[in-house]
């Protein structure tokens, strides 16, 4: 489902739980092999940005 990055959905789940929201829009992009996850509210309002890690966690990078 995610090619050589099967950790992406786990990182998305980690990010939403870390932020404290269950229902969110997650925009996933990959640049130079790095996974970026932008969380937005269901209405499209920016909430936070994370970097997806290969162990299925995510690191917040917008603060």
């Amino acid at each position: 489902m995610w090619g050589d990055k099967p950790y992406i959905p786990h990182s998305v789940k980690y990010a939403t739980e870390d932020y404290g929201i269950e229902i969110a829009i997650a925009e996933i992009d990959v640049q130079a092999g790095v996974v970026y996850i932008v969380l937005k509210s269901p209405e499209g309002v920016f909430l936070a940005e994370y970097r997806g890690n290969e162990n299925g966690t995510a690191t917040r990078i917008d603060e």
Partner: protein, 291 residues
């Protein structure tokens, strides 16, 4: 007959239904696609369109019956996916030009499909296996080819998860990570029952999915509404580094001559052993256009 309105002397065409079919109707006739043969689907206006199965070897059930068009796959089949240039999921295709008479680059089209989803058996490795299903607009490609040009409105869920995500994605490009870019709505307690894709003249598109059980007005669904652009064959930066001009008839990657509608189901093994079974029954579809 197009529904035309006139504003200040200019005619505008409203959405019109080009093809609509009830896949649960006995009028469609029972048919198994496992023999890899196409089958004619009859629309509500009596029009007939041929639908062809692809990647049938990766399905345990691929048939038209009272429940609709059911595609089932699981541990007995190989891992399947729609990802980048990987197009191995069992899919039922029809040409858009067969569904929309006279379809051309002036038309915006909207495809809506009603479906029901089931994780039939979560198996013993639910954290490593993923169910995916949805609708696709593609160039008709399939299999593990080296190219892939498509957009989808879809859902996925790990087999052991109580929630699913609704998402939009484009496929194509051979670079590492080309298939990773997606937008998804997380934490949904039910699978979608309505999928929508809108394809604008050229390369723009929009996807949405919802739990509606009846067709909705095009572009009226607000859940998981995502937008994208699908173009790989024409330079994106016109005038600054572009090697091609836009031209009067650019060779868009997805175009009226090759655009197909598909309905697909996959079970992708991400890690560990392959276990479980999933199914989707596609029950109704309709295709609209606006000129």
């Amino acid at each position: 007959m197009a529904n035309i309105r006139n504003v200040s002397g200019v005619n505008y065409t409203e959405w019109e239904t080009a093809f609509e079919a009830d896949l649960t109707s006995t009028a469609q006739g029972a048919h198994t696609f496992l023999d890899n043969t196409p089958h004619n689907i009859t629309g509500s206006d009596g029009s007939i369109v041929a639908f062809a199965p692809r990647n049938v070897d990766e399905s345990s059930t691929f048939a038209l019956a009272a429940s609709g068009c059911k595609i089932e796959t699981g541990e007995g089949e190989g891992t399947t996916n729609w990802y980048s240039t990987v197009q191995t999921g069992p899919v039922l295709y029809a040409r858009i030009s067969d569904l929309i008479s006279g379809y051309d680059l002036e038309d915006t089209i909207c495809v809506q499909v009603l479906a029901s989803s089931a994780i039939v058996d979560a198996g013993t490795n639910g954290a490593g296996n993923v169910y995916g299903t949805g609708i696709i607009l593609s160039d008709g490609g399939y299999g593990g080819s080296s190219t892939g040009n498509w957009i989808i409105s879809a859902t996925y869920s790990f087999l052991n998860s109580s929630t699913s995500a609704y998402y939009g994605r484009f496929g194509g490009g051979s670079g590492v990570g080309d298939g990773d870019r997606i937008a998804e709505l997380t934490g949904q307690s039910d699978f979608p029952s309505l999928y929508e894709l809108v394809f604008y003249p050229g390369t723009g598109w929009s996807s949405a999915a919802s739990t509606d059980t009846t067709f909705q007005d095009p572009l009226s669904i607000t859940t998981a509404r995502f937008y994208g652009n699908m173009e790989t064959s024409v330079a994106s930066a016109i005038g600054t580094g572009a090697t091609q001009s836009p031209g009067t008839s650019p060779a868009f990657t997805l175009r009226p001559a090759n655009l197909h509608l598909g309905m697909y189901t996959v079970m992708s093994t991400q890690s560990g052993g392959r276990s479980g079974d999933v199914a989707t029954a596609f029950t109704k579809l309709r295709v609209l256009k606006r000129s």
